[in-house]
């Protein structure tokens, strides 16, 4: 196995709510090897999204360190870590291509170069021909494709995805899942994918990390080991069902009051 690109070492995190420390995550240790697709699932409020914002450098953990390529993450590292959110969060006044080019603009890349790079990313995400559309002229699935293109435009090693398909309808969600796998197989990013869909978690990932209820601890680390490319037919296989059930047991236990 190749060495870890993203490491969470001894992470605990607490939020201050009215001066009281409310623990959100406890004793998280994860090493993600280069190119691995990891899903993170857990009962609602278990700190999945907090985990991602710590990995992104948007917050500092109360305890422990996040390492990316062996370097401690203390602030966002846009060239190494891309991020996709639940809502596409596109800048509504910029066209699709300008949105994709936005991270490059922040870095001071000249306009022709950044638009060229952005055009390539839109092509990769299946949006060639929609470059000049404004976000309000795009469907929910297309917006999320733009957001993925924006996450990849700097060619980061790591892509963090925070329930990126949660606000899409079922069909769009399935299509985008397959699209994400295609993009991933072409780019081989290390992906940390937070979701509350067990089906999605198993279908997409090499490995599923299961968190307990708040404060989130790792209660299981599941090796998916289904062959790739994944197909819809696999979702009705015995192996797929067994994996989903194994994860569901943990969640059900945690969700019970």
């Amino acid at each position: 196995m190749s060495k870890a690109v993203l490491s969470l070492r001894g992470i605990s995190h607490a939020f201050a709510v009215d001066g009281v420390a409310v623990p959100a995550l406890a004793d998280i240790d994860v090493d993600v090897p280069d190119g691995q697709f990891v899903s993170v699932v857990g009962p609602s409020g278990c700190g999945k999204s907090t985990l991602l914002s710590l990995a992104a450098g948007l917050r500092r953990p109360s305890r422990g360190v996040v390492l990316c390529d062996g370097e401690e993450v203390t602030a966002p590292m846009p060239r190494k870590i891309g991020m996709v959110f639940q809502e596409a969060n596109l800048l509504p006044w910029l066209s699709a291509i300008e949105n994709v080019a936005f991270p490059l603009k922040l870095r001071g890349v000249a306009k022709p170069q950044r638009l060229q790079a952005a055009a390539r990313m839109l092509e990769l995400t299946g949006l060639a021909g929609f470059e000049e559309r404004l976000p309000h002229q795009l469907s929910g699935g297309m917006k999320q494709r733009v957001a993925i293109a924006r996450g990849l435009v700097q060619d980061p090693g790591v892509l963090l995805m925070d329930e990126p398909f949660a606000s899409l309808d079922e069909q769009t969600r399935m299509v985008l899942g397959d699209e994400l796998l295609r993009i991933w197989s072409e780019t081989r990013k290390t992906v940390l994918f937070v979701t509350h869909s067990l089906h999605e978690a198993v279908y997409l990932a090499d490995r599923v990390i299961v968190l307990s209820a708040r404060p989130g601890r790792i209660v299981d680390d599941v090796d998916v080991s289904l062959p790739r490319p994944r197909t819809f037919a696999m979702t009705s296989s015995e192996r797929f069902g067994a994996l989903k059930e194994r994860i569901w047991r943990h969640i059900r236990r945690a969700e019970r009051p």
Partner: protein, 251 residues
């Protein structure tokens, strides 16, 4: 304005003018109080040839512009402070909200006592009336900035200045222009009110004088000029607003 809207507005104004002309000719309107549009037009041409009338227009224009140029930055500064600094907001926002509801015109006598009947008095009263609208607009503009976009900018490495330039400014621009436009309407009203109430020059002063002397053609001609100027400013700001806010429109 879209083309068909323009046609409707133009046709509406023309229709009103024709109706007016017709009613005067039929004798249903008193020509002494409401002279026919043709008579008003003749008065307008004559007025625009009189240097003292042009000076009055310039005085009013200068007062309006000065009040606007003071009120907008001051109002936006206060609005941003109230919206972005929690301590200042908690302390002063209720007060500003409270004062916003008070009609500003009742303070006019105070401004005359403090500043006298002078040009600074007109500007001060214009600023006083306008600044509240701009403060409210500034607060609304800051609050309209989607917090998620700030997170996006941070994830992609934006510094403070970049966040202001790339997120705050474009997100706020349409609302800022809108509040500047509303402020301008209040501003023009305030300055003219001052001039009509008591002044030594300015088009409002002349309107009041012509009114008192029953010089109705001149009065209506001046009204037409003021209305045209105010509508012109309003439409210019509105078209800028539409251009900068095109992204806000729903599909």
């Amino acid at each position: 304005m879209r083309r068909h809207e323009r046609v409707i507005v133009a046709a509406g104004i023309l229709g009103l003018v024709l109706l007016w002309e017709g009613l005067v000719r039929l004798g249903w309107l008193d020509a002494a109080l409401t002279p026919a549009p043709g008579v008003v037009l003749a008065a307008l041409v004559e007025l625009l040839g009189r240097p003292e009338v042009l000076t009055s227009l310039a005085v009013t224009g200068w007062e309006v512009a000065a009040a606007f140029l003071i009120a907008v930055p001051v109002g936006l500064g206060i609005g941003f402070l109230l919206a972005e600094v929690p301590f200042v907001g908690a302390l002063f926002r209720p007060l500003v909200n409270f004062l916003f509801g008070v009609p500003k015109s009742i303070f006019l006598p105070v401004f005359i006592l403090v500043f006298g009947v002078s040009i600074p008095q007109k500007i001060a009263f214009g600023v006083f009336t306008t600044v509240f609208v701009v403060i409210m607009g500034g607060i609304a503009a800051v609050e309209s900035v989607p917090r998620e976009l700030l997170t996006v900018a941070r994830v992609y490495g934006a510094g403070r200045l970049q966040i202001v330039r790339e997120i705050y400014v474009p997100a706020m621009a349409p609302i800022l222009l809108e509040s500047a436009r509303l402020g301008m309407i209040f501003n023009i009203t305030a300055v003219l009110l001052c001039e009509i109430y008591g002044a030594r020059d300015g088009i409002g002063y002349r309107i009041a004088a012509w009114g008192e002397n029953l010089q109705m053609p001149q009065l209506y001609a001046a009204l037409a000029v003021v209305a045209a100027a105010a509508v012109g400013v309003n439409e210019a700001l509105r078209s800028a607003e539409a251009r900068l806010g095109a992204w806000r429109q729903a599909p």
